[in-house]
């Protein structure tokens, strides 16, 4: 059954169209506020919370950049709900992380109209600023990316995006579709009663699905999956052991930026910066004694492995960890590869559904017997 609304636009008017759309929604009271990527005078494009309809003009959701994973932003806005209806325009990786944060009671979607957008990838922040300076527009990027080429002026979208199997966002009320819709149109798909209601109130009709969207999406997903498998194969070969992991992390300075940027690392403060890991001098000496030398800061591998045990079940592979590393360590494959294994063990997939319970919160008397292999 089809519930798509076509939004045709002339070249260069996509953002204008979208601005009108959301302006309308706000004025018609569909929502009181909007959270969406917007052009910031000096800071490129950032998620922005708008409550004045007249100011949505700067909206630019398809700008290929995600300075901060939006799940964190959504969490800060809804962790203690304001009670005001808010539309949030986010990408798949942000929404999947958000689903996990909801399960962890860090976000609440009751007042939220969740709008997912097709994602063709994001550039690292600095690359994006550079490309913008060279005059690349979101539309230009979309056109190029849909044609299968994301490389531009020596920059390419992040590694995480290249292997992301979720260009299309699920668990949303509305979807802004640009894949397989033809270059002059954007389609708004409604997936929930909440979405239908929104479209209706916004005075938008219901129409057919764009021909060829499905095929286009599938093709893109397939491409990314293959890329993913290849990447993992390559990664696992290059990093089969803790030794190899140490090489990979040779330049880690224990700044913990990776967990600060990680949308599902939801602790206020990481255990590794709490007193638990504030050791006494004689302890350091003791460790040093053992081999005569001790690399400082300590506990680097310990930190990364522990982090895996904490977040790998929720990891959505958004790649913010890699983007955040000041020493350009490519952390994403490290965590995503493990996540693939741990999530598979419990037939769980981070962000797949609100209903699925997180693996470590449920347990049965007669499950996982293979772990001990004992039957009385």
């Amino acid at each position: 059954m089809a519930n798509f609304t076509k939004l045709s636009f002339k070249k260069g008017e996509l953002n204008q169209k979208l601005a009108d759309l959301f302006k309308g929604m706000m004025e018609k009271g569909v929502v009181d506020a909007l959270l969406a990527p917007m052009i910031q005078p000096k800071r490129g494009v950032m998620l922005t919370l708008v409550t004045d309809p007249s100011l949505v003009g700067a909206i630019d959701p398809f700008a290929p950049v995600v300075p901060v994973n939006g799940a964190r932003i959504a969490s800060s806005i809804t962790g203690k709900p304001s009670g005001r209806k808010t539309a949030m325009v986010l990408r798949s990786c942000e929404i999947r992380a958000l689903v996990e944060l909801c399960k962890l009671k860090q976000a609440h979607l009751d007042d939220v109209l969740l709008i997912g957008m097709d994602c063709l990838g994001r550039y690292e922040n600095l690359d994006f600023i550079k490309l913008r300076a060279e005059g690349q527009s979101s539309e230009a990027f979309i056109e190029k990316a849909l044609a299968g080429n994301t490389e531009s002026g020596g920059c390419d979208v992040s590694g995480a995006c290249k292997i992301c199997e979720f260009p299309v966002a699920d668990n949303v009320d509305l979807r802004l579709c640009i894949i397989g819709t033809g270059s002059d149109a954007l389609y708004i798909e409604s997936l929930t009663p909440k979405g239908d209601k929104a479209l209706e109130t916004a005075g938008l009709g219901i129409g057919e699905a764009p021909a060829g969207r499905e095929a286009a999406v599938q093709q893109l997903v397939k491409k990314r999956k293959d890329a993913c498998d290849a990447a993992f194969a390559q990664y696992r070969e290059s990093t089969p052991s803790v030794d190899a992991l140490e090489d990979r992390l040779a330049n880690c300075i224990n700044c913990y930026n990776c967990r600060v940027a990680c949308p599902v690392c939801y602790c206020k403060e990481c255990v590794f910066v709490t007193d638990t890991f504030r050791h006494n001098g004689d302890q350091y000496m003791g460790w040093a004694d053992t081999f005569g030398t001790l690399k400082m800061p300590t506990d680097t591998i310990f930190y990364h492995l522990t982090r895996m045990s904490h977040m790998s079940l929720f990891c959505v592979g958004c790649g913010q960890c890699t983007s955040a590393c000041p020493n350009s360590i490519d952390l994403m494959p490290m965590f995503k590869a493990v996540a693939q294994k741990t999530q598979a063990r419990f037939d769980y997939q981070a962000g797949r559904s609100h209903e699925e319970k997180q693996p470590l919160t449920v347990f049965e008397n007669d499950e996982l017997v293979e772990v001990t292999g004992q039957i009385k």
């Binding site: 089969p240 190899a244 003791g286 895996m308 493990v338 294994k341 419990f346 347990f363 008397n365 772990v371």
Partner: protein
């Protein structure tokens, strides 16, 4: 250079496996002395951090001993432990720490013999596997605290009674 002696860290539940250990002790069931027991109140209390640390510190194996399902003093801590072990195994495997090095076993208080068998079996298995890739203790290297405290004449220490 004598045969490789694996180091096993045993996180034992106070209510079952730890007692089984005592039982084995009192019944003089001889053990390979490779296992280093750390008493936990419950197998469900074993944080993944402990296991990771044990391996990073060069343990060749880690054995968690808990109560049989239904037997847990704290109702279901052992079931929670089992899920965590499954998760952690996946992570360790990914970085070359064989799952044969990381065991969870149900051992009731009265199963001293089983405990001995488990420890023997694990030791044998680890001898096959050889030292853990993270066991970097270069054999022969003298590590402080390892040496027997040298003999001293009684005058040096305060003696009473």
């Amino acid at each position: 250079m004598s045969e490789f002696e694996p180091k096993i860290v045993g996180f034992f539940c106070n209510w079952c496996t730890f007692t089984a250990a005592d039982l084995a002790g009192t019944s003089r069931l001889s053990y390979p002395h490779n296992i280093k027991i750390i008493r936990m109140m419950c197998s469900g209390m074993v944080d993944p951090k402990y296991v990771i640390k044990a391996f990073l510190n060069g343990a060749d194996g880690v054995l968690i001993g808990g109560c049989w399902p239904g037997d847990c003093h704290y109702i279901n801590g052992n079931l929670k432990a089992r899920r965590r072990v499954a998760m952690l195994t996946e992570i360790l495997k990914e970085y070359g720490i064989d799952e044969k090095r990381f065991w969870l076993r149900w051992i009731a208080a009265s199963e001293g013999t089983m405990l001995r068998e488990v420890v023997n079996e694990m030791t044998a298995k680890l001898k096959e596997l050889g030292p853990s890739p993270l066991n970097r203790e270069t054999p022969g290297k003298k590590t402080p605290g390892n040496e027997t405290p040298e003999k001293v004449n009684p005058e040096k220490v305060k003696m009473i009674g």
